[in-house]
Symmetry: C2
Subunit: 272 residues, 2 copies
């Protein structure tokens, strides 16, 4: 097997210590060739300035995190979500991101209507698809671990994401995060089905025990996910874009990013 | 829609305060017609004595929790698991349980070989199936929420459980817990496929936020699961066995069971 290809730093990995300027400089300093900003740090710098600085640093933008969050309790809420997604598409285009990562949203507050929330997701994606196509921005649907179904994403499996992609046609892809898909008994079959649809590949690890449903991810190699096996499936499906490391972790957020980035590079080589 | 049928108390719901004797007496006192013991409280009383007292109290035994936990790091560990499952089958038969609930086990310590662990589960089930059939005990395969894949169950979806049931034939069924299956985008299709295979139906609820991956379940009605909708699917698939309430919750364990049981009865009527 070849190596995992180039590494990209998702900025959430160091969110407690570094803004976007420090991330750009840190990637250059440590030899990380890619970056994937979240919108909060992007907007804090200003999108035009950020686009220029990322370009000047020679970094590949492997994604923008994140669009989505379509379900809402009322029509005004859903319309506001669409507007925000349109701004996200424009931002992704301006920084030259490979894709806009879509975290589609959970149940509206107080709702138990999972089918209704899923319909809101499908409708929202269809509504913004023309703008995404016009801007040349791929909407990368990210299935999220089922433990986030209530509050973050009713899109829970790769199979479900690919069903949506097929309904959407051009302009839709999937963002694969090993943390969200590793447990899936249908993964091998769906990865074959994902050929030509993979727009992002995210790494981190599942710790045992896991003490928080969102903020306790591990560095690649510290958990139980067979990351090289999943990467091999992605590459068999045509993926050639390297790996973006995205660690949401209170433990790692407390550390000095100049100590964390060398670890990320090492784990990218040895555990991905 | 009719009511949810008779209620059964899974003893883990009050495990910090009551042993099996108190559970049997509590069910009688509060008018709960069914019970589902865990093996620790069953063995603490003695299986023969427990069988007699449960029978004398007129309680239906909706299940015995639990068999399973097949994957192990070496052959000796796997053999020990089989022996323990054989004892569990004998216990289930002795107390007249409708089924032995199977929590199949996670990855062996230090392993990332998910396919291998799943094969150990399938092999273990096949190994004990003759004893289960001879004893007239249905092995009720319980898919567990994917967040437990690493350390409790590599059996994560109803579809996966039904695939195993089909390979096993007579003597195999599924234990459906709404907590474990509610998020599944393939649920409606798999519930149709489950016709004739449902051996247990467990209730509780998914809280938002969920603060622990195992011990933070809610009472039915306190979370986001549309329990009546899932019950209707089970009944459409032939289920007529009522509902067993199983709450693993540090919050509820701290309460007086004589306060909790009336709440369980009320929620069984109003939220299930």
């Amino acid at each position: 097997m070849n190596g995992p290809g180039p590494l990209s730093l998702n900025t959430v990995t160091v969110k407690e210590r570094w803004g976007l300027a420090e991330c750009i400089e840190g990637c250059a300093r440590h030899g990380i060739p890619g970056i994937s900003p979240w919108r909060d740090v992007l907007q804090a710098m200003g999108v035009a300035a950020a686009a220029r600085r990322i370009r000047d640093a020679g970094l590949t933008v492997t994604g923008l995190c994140r669009g989505g969050m379509f379900p809402a309790a009322d029509a005004a809420g859903r319309a506001a979500a669409l507007e925000d997604n349109r701004r996200a598409i424009a931002e992704a285009a301006e920084i030259g991101a490979r894709c806009l990562v879509m975290v589609c949203g959970g149940l509206p507050p107080g709702s138990k209507d999972l089918a209704g929330a899923r319909a809101m997701v499908a409708d929202g994606l269809q509504a913004i698809l023309p703008e995404a196509r016009a801007a040349g921005v791929t909407l990368a649907l990210e299935p999220l671990h089922p433990m986030t179904c209530a509050d973050r994403s009713v899109l829970s499996t790769l199979g479900q994401a690919l069903d949506l992609c097929e309904a959407m046609g051009d302009g839709a892809g999937v963002a694969l995060d090993v943390y969200h898909v590793w447990w899936d008994p249908d993964l091998a079959r769906q990865m074959r089905r994902a050929a030509g649809r993979i727009s992002a590949f995210h790494t981190c690890d599942w710790l045992v025990p896991t003490t928080d449903t969102v903020f306790d991810r591990g560095l690649p190699g510290d958990g139980v996910i067979d990351i090289p096996a999943i990467r091999a499936m992605a590459e068999a499906a045509g993926w050639q874009g390297g790996a973006e490391v995205e660690i949401l972790s209170r433990r790692w957020w407390s550390r000095d990013p100049d100590e964390v980035l060398p670890l990320l590079l090492e784990r990218h080589r040895t555990a991905c």
